[in-house]
């Protein structure tokens, strides 16, 4: 059963085609590592999946509505002038979480921010702000997780927290689509891999031992220089 299906998706910004007929199918319960160089269209693709942008042509089909999607973009998506708890209570309200206070407290404890729940986000260190962002994305136990370069700029503690949460989510049957440059971290979790090159999906398939052993293998065999 498919969680996400992209059918010949095009996206133009003015005359520039950021996506050129991208076709992709993501099986439910899988973890797709979306690879590609800067400017390949990964962020554009994820933003369309997250309903932040509309495709110019083509169609995206998701097995769940916005309620079932968790999005972690380039920005951390938390309000600096609210406390950690206030941030999560707000997002719990937006995501229609049944008991927002309980869910917020559990999420904060999971990311190690339980003791500073009343601290303003602007007073947190960078790593703490990123863990708060992770707590926000996982608050409503989404069925589909869309993560745009989630490991970038994380400290090692935040990386460990995120990897643990992702493993939990996968074992609960969630689907993950994750764009990343950190191929090693991605390959630890990924079941499937897709390579975007200039707005086109040039490879999509299961992860293989060659990809795990040699992070550059995919680019050499399917990228522009192949």
């Amino acid at each position: 059963m498919l969680a996400v299906e992209a059918d010949r998706v095009w996206k133009y910004f003015g005359d520039y085609p950021a996506l050129r007929g991208a076709d992709l199918k993501v099986e439910k319960g899988s973890c797709l590592a979306l690879l590609g160089r800067n400017g390949a269209g990964k962020t554009t693709f994820l933003r369309i999946l997250a309903n932040l942008s509309r495709p110019t042509k083509g169609e995206i089909r998701c097995s769940v509505g916005k309620n079932g999607i968790g999005y972690l973009g380039h920005g951390i998506g938390v309000y600096d002038d609210l406390s950690a708890m206030e941030n999560l209570l707000l997002f719990g309200e937006l995501m229609s979480v049944a008991d927002p206070k309980k869910a917020a407290m559990e999420a904060l404890d999971r990311v190690g921010l339980g003791r500073v729940k009343d601290g303003l986000a602007r007073e947190f260190s960078r790593g703490m702000r990123q863990r708060l962002a992770v707590a926000r994305a996982f608050l409503h136990r989404p069925e589909i997780l869309l993560l745009d370069e989630p490991f970038t700029s994380l400290d090692d503690r935040a990386i460990a927290v995120l990897q643990a949460l992702l493993k939990d989510a996968l074992s609960s049957g969630a689907t993950i689509v994750m764009s990343t440059h950190q191929i090693r971290e991605a390959m630890e979790l990924a079941t499937d891999v897709a390579l975007l090159e200039r707005g086109k999906v040039v490879f999509a398939g299961p992860q293989t031992p060659e990809m795990v052993l040699d992070p550059g293998w995919l680019y050499r065999h399917y990228g522009e220089s192949a």
Binding site: L52, S53, G65, G75, G77, V78, L82, L90, M95, L120
Partner: protein, 227 residues
Amino acid sequence: MSRGLKTAFAIARKDLRTELRTKESVNASASFALVILVLFSFAFNLERDEFYAISGGLLWLVYSFAGALIVNRSFSRELPNDCLDVLVASPAPGWAIFLGKAIAAFVLLIIVEAISLPIFGLFYDINWTNVFGPLVLIILLATWGITVVGAAFSAVIVNVRLRELMLPVLLYPILIPLLIAAMGSTTALLSGEPMAGDNMSYLRQLVGFDAIYTALALYMIEFVLVF
């Protein structure tokens, strides 16, 4: 209460809470309003009748400029940390996000008006014993019109670099009918005219403006936020 309205109020509470902590727009807006009102009282040496003839114009010029300072922050406060993306990606309908922001801006502008109106009354020696109720009604209607149109344009230009310059350019031409009605009715009330005849047509103009632009903004906002 519907889910959408609950969401709108949650967003309004969030905006008001952050504004209470930072006081960024209220301080600037209230200071501007007070300074202009006080300076005008010294700038011109007007007879009572001459003053009443311009009173509505003065008050609503000040409120519309003060309002622009507040509505400009409506959506731009979502830019740090890409919070706007998270709001739009959430199940919250676009109209609920917009309504929450408009309600917050409305409350903040009412606060500024509540602070500056007594100063206006004091410095210009206004006797509002018989007109306070109708005047408050005019203020509420006109303020809602300013904030709903202002919040809508704040969403349109949120990613524009010169948005502080663009907002007044877009906002004030649209507000002309509202400002005419607000200025005319306020001048009439302060001059001692009753709420009847021409004044009622001003009131109808305000209600009509608010209804039309609220409906338009709630409908169009989805196309503005996702493109």
